[in-house]
Amino acid sequence: MKKRTVKFGILLSALIIGGIAAFVCAFFIGSSGFSVAEFGRIIDGSASQTVYNIFLNIRLPRAVGAFLVGAALAVSGCCLQGVFKNPMADSFVLGVSSGAALGATVAMTFLTGMSLFGAGTTAVFSFAGALVAVFIVYNISRIRGKVSTFSLLLSGFSMSALFSAIIYLIMLLNRDKMENVVMWNMGSLANMTWDKIWVALPVILLCSALLMFHAKPLNIMLNGDEVSQSLGVDTHKTRRNMLILTSLLSAVAVSISGIIGFVGLMVPHLLRMIAGPDNKKLMPLCFVGGGMYLLICDVIARVILNGQEMPVGIVTSIFGVPFFIFLLRRGNRGGI
């Protein structure tokens, strides 16, 4: 079988151009329509305060936030599929989503209106919940000092089930808060602020960059532990580093956006089908591609229901799944 992959440079350029186009769309499309002329007035300082606010304090942070969250979810999904050699892996299998959801549920139910470290309690508690969940999952699965893929996936699934049960119990006992919790669980970028972005931006950029530096050992680790070690890769250290970085990356993304499913699963697979399995190329592509995909989904979420916002997590799945299935049926490239 001759290997055919789209050239990395061409694909990355296409995604960057697509990302910029999506960014421009996110800027101009919304419930209040704005023209290019009004954008010009913002630049020269003659725009009204309302226009200024909508552009710079609502749409711009939302677009930046969408890109960052999409990029973070796709890069962490890509890494975890490689670390686990499992096509179903994304950051959520480690318990990130259920831990974050439990943290957010506690905050929204018992700590409404409070603030912590200058941020909303929901964001802080979901971030903490995600990290605590990963810590518990990691320690449960560590047997004789070693963490096997199998035990990690199983403990991740079982802890997620436990956290979900606790969430349902809290919701059942506090039915008045149920809608907030459900909406958060569907993910939304509507409440994105610059404050959230300034906290998330350095974490997402730093973790993504560090993960990209692990691309080469991750490629080698696809051969399995024994062969990887014989090729000079410290598999335990690499796996531990990557789990820490992906957990931080996805925890910070989830804490500012709620749970947005399918991006971390679909975007890496889709790009792997097009560009092949080399993580050195795949991770940068996932960063740009994941960001672009969530930006587009967020624009759709804002306009598809006339006058009412749809949680972006619904859009990512409704539009992503059919396209994904189409590509899957066309023939899987790049392996899983």
Binding site: M1, K216, N223, E226, V227, L231, D234, G276, P277
Partner: protein, 256 residues
């Protein structure tokens, strides 16, 4: 460059497998043979540093393999594992280039020299025409040649092979082992090779380590170890040996 194993006990999980193994291996092609469950693969995995011994040590040039860093060890020793599948479609060249990893700094990319070395190894193993092919879809023989090319690209002085030809047809069995034998002869490598086929071991190995139930039964020159009475006892079966005029020996089980 040699391997020195002292009083080695090793197991997998709670099951003890190797018992009090002591062995010194210096040069040439050493065959490890023995019936199923003798502990051949476990011994190779302990030599490679993958398994931690419960007692005793494996040393390379006087240093315990468990105390050498993973990268430094990979510079000294390359592994050709039992058949395994790489389910991602890297090209043959990309896969062979992975062999350069021990020589690279953590975040260093592949240089032109690395690519030259990988291409030379690919040419040596006779698969230059497959360089840009995906590893998915390679035949068993092509795959095994690629893995040997990767091991050669590591430029280590010890080569560990775990049943390298067990899934190949007779043509490829002879092809692969002749290739390895040539490399051992030309480059002065130490090659430790787990084999099931006694005829291949007899033909290609200069020394044989014969194992049974986690212990070494015999270790010495091939001609001394592959004796009818010794093999019959270890394999617990009747054996017929044919000695040809050219000095080669063929070993068969007595058919019932």
């Amino acid at each position: 460059m040699g391997i020195c194993i002292r009083n080695l006990d090793c197991g997998v999980g709670d099951t003890p497998i190797l018992h009090d193994i002591s062995l010194t291996l210096n040069t040439g092609m050493i065959g490890i043979i023995g019936p199923n469950g003798a502990g051949k693969t476990t011994l190779l995995r302990t030599i490679s540093g993958y398994l931690k011994p419960e007692r005793g040590s494996v040393e390379i040039d006087g240093t315990n393999v468990r105390e050498i860093g993973v990268k430094a060890l990979a510079k000294k020793m390359a592994l050709v594992p039992q058949n395994y599948a790489l389910e991602y479609d890297f090209t043959v060249l990309e896969t062979v280039l992975m062999g350069r990893n021990p020589h690279k700094k953590t975040f260093e990319g592949d240089s032109m020299e690395d690519i030259r070395l990988a291409r030379a190894a690919i040419a040596k193993t006779g698969i230059a025409h497959l360089e840009n092919r995906s590893v998915i879809g390679l035949s068993g023989g092509e795959w095994q040649r690629m893995i040997i090319a990767r091991a050669l690209t590591q430029q280590s002085s010890i080569l560990l092979l775990d049943e390298p030809v067990s899934s190949l047809d007779i043509k490829h069995q002879v092809g692969i082992l002749s290739l390895v034998n040539e490399l051992v002869r030309d480059s002065g490598l130490l090659c430790v090779c787990v084999l099931h086929d006694l005829n291949l071991a007899s033909h290609y190995c200069s020394e044989i380590v014969l194992m049974k139930q986690g212990r070494i039964v015999r270790h010495g020159p091939t001609r001394d170890v592959l004796q009818k009475d010794i093999l019959e006892e270890v394999y617990d079966t009747k054996i017929r040996m044919l000695h040809e005029n050219d000095g080669s020996t063929y070993i068969f089980p007595e058919m019932p």
